[in-house]
């Protein structure tokens, strides 16, 4: 498992220069063409500057000579201005057209996912026409490859910004408002995203993963996420469930299939199916989970989860239970 995870980390692509969706590619291409054009223009300007600095000057050229030079110089200046304006106009059109195509609603057939920003984690909800099939999870978004996905973006506290780096430009999540963005992943992979609007103490550690799966795998992942958590068969894990229900955990966390239904913190029903903890801060391993439960403030100071006191056996039982929540 750790090996697989390390591999996954390596595979995580989080660069805007590595577009993985048609939308990101459009933006990347626009950026590339602007860069190249600007580079060329820059080169020409530098050449012109050098020529102006180093051109041969005859000391006995008189006013007549200057007059002779004036017309070509004036023309060049006019031509340069006109070309600049034209280039900028072309960019304006390209910009608007790229902007248009990445925001136009992809229509029916798109998967709808609601992502709500909290300080400092992501609530992810898959809605369905059949309410029974709604899924709520946190910090890890699975999407099917090749199908457009529309994200409804909201926030419950301050302004966050949803930025799936290689897949799409960012969009703000504004409390009291609703925004949306959409994209389509070209190929399977693990893509890291980041919050892109300063939102408090742990803005830097508010990351998420977008995992693009082949459609069949996505469907089976979604089906598993719809299951409620079963009572574990293992005695230690069963004891861990009792520890969970008797502890402060239930004030903030929900586990479907138990009486815990609070939505202050991330939904834990399928905690063990996620690759990271604390919004992309740590790999989801047993030791990290223990460390996080005992004192999250050491890992992510300011996060809203307090340090917790458990006896040794209780803590081991609790973690054994949480590991069954696949």
């Amino acid at each position: 498992m750790p090996v697989l995870f390390a591999h996954a980390l390596v595979q995580q692509s989080y660069s805007t220069l590595n577009p993985a969706s048609p939308q990101a590619r459009l933006v990347d291409r626009l950026g590339d063409s602007m860069f190249i054009t600007a580079a060329v223009v820059f080169g020409l300007v530098v050449l012109a500057l050098l020529w102006a600095v180093f051109r041969r000057r005859d000391s006995d050229e008189g006013p007549a000579e200057d007059a002779r030079r004036e017309w070509p110089l004036r023309t060049s200046a006019l031509v340069a201005t006109a070309v600049t304006t034209a280039i900028l106009f072309v960019f304006l059109i390209l910009d608007v057209s790229v902007g248009r195509s990445i925001t136009t609603n992809p229509g029916k057939g798109a998967l709808q996912i609601r992502v709500t920003g909290h300080q400092w984690w992501w609530e992810v909800q898959y809605r369905d026409s059949l309410p029974k099939n709604w899924v709520t999870t946190a910090n890890e978004i699975h999407i099917p490859v090749g199908r457009p996905v529309v994200f409804e973006l909201k926030s419950t506290d301050v302004i966050h910004s949803f930025w799936p780096i290689s897949l799409s430009p960012k969009k703000d999540q504004i409390p009291g408002d609703e925004n949306s963005l959409w994209f389509q992943a070209d190929s399977a992979g693990v893509y890291r995203g980041q919050c892109a609007e300063f939102c408090g103490h742990q803005h830097a550690k508010m990351a998420f993963l977008v995992i693009a799966d082949p459609p069949a795998e996505f469907a089976s992942w979604l089906a598993r996420q719809r299951d409620t958590a079963l009572t574990p068969t293992d005695a230690l894990a069963r004891r861990g469930k009792e520890v969970f229900l008797a502890s402060p955990c239930v004030m903030c966390h929900a586990i479907s299939g138990t009486p815990a239904g609070s939505r202050i913190g991330p939904d834990l029903t399928h905690l063990a199916s996620r690759r990271t903890l604390a919004a992309g801060t740590l790999p989801n391993t047993r030791d990290n989970l223990i460390g996080w439960i005992v004192n999250p403030q050491v890992i992510k100071p300011g996060v809203r989860m307090p340090p917790n006191q458990f006896s040794g056996p209780d803590l081991l039982a609790l973690v054994a239970y949480l590991e069954t929540l696949k």
């Binding site: 009291g176 402060p248 903030c252 202050i264 004192n295 403030q297 300011g302 307090p306």
Partner: protein, 187 residues
């Protein structure tokens, strides 16, 4: 006076003011700072002590001057469903918290005890479910509801639908021991 002397006076004044403001915004992420109020205070609820001569317990709560903690307390007050019974201080299932009447005492330690241990006529015991640091935050917020905290510490106007004047503007309601606890009303 010479400009350099004037500058250093201004600088010192600014430093002094900002240091004074530090406590108001201090964040203790690891929980209560060491040496502060004990997590489970044993507090006296009545005035009568046989033999007398025992002064009242007036330990301040750890967050009486910490605006950040009070605002966290307000968030938790709503999220942990305190508002479901006490609403925004007017009461409903539970008694009002914005008035001057206190059945079980208005001191921070009394309020802490009420939240942590519960009370016989329907107040649940939250002590095993909310960590002491958060209970102190909620305690501080509860005190702000009747104007017992300084104006620069109490929360300002909320972004939600206005149902009560902001805690910052609450007139300080001098706490009184409520006449009869509810349990004494039962025939």
């Amino acid at each position: 006076m010479c400009s350099r002397f004037r500058d250093s006076v201004i600088l010192s004044a600014v430093l002094a003011l900002s240091l004074a403001a530090c406590q108001r915004e201090e964040r203790n992420f690891q929980g209560l700072p060491s040496g502060s109020a004990v997590a489970n205070p044993k507090v006296r609820e009545v005035e009568l002590v046989p033999g007398g001569n025992v002064p009242a317990d007036s330990r301040p709560g750890p967050y009486e001057e910490n605006a950040y903690a009070v605002s966290q307390g307000k968030t938790l007050y709503n999220q942990y469903n305190c508002s479901g019974c006490h609403f925004q201080g007017g009461g409903g299932i539970g008694p009002p918290l914005m008035d001057a009447d206190w059945i079980y005492g208005s001191r921070p330690a009394n309020i802490y005890e009420t939240i942590a241990e519960g009370r016989p006529n329907g107040m649940p015991s939250f002590g095993r479910k909310i960590v002491p640091d958060q209970i102190w935050q909620i305690t501080a917020y509860v005190r702000s509801m009747s104007g017992l905290l300084r104006k620069d510490v109490a929360p300002g106007r909320t972004d939600d639908m206005q149902v009560r004047p902001q805690e910052q503007s609450a007139q300080k309601a001098k706490p009184v021991q409520s006449a009869i606890p509810k349990s004494a009303e039962i025939p």
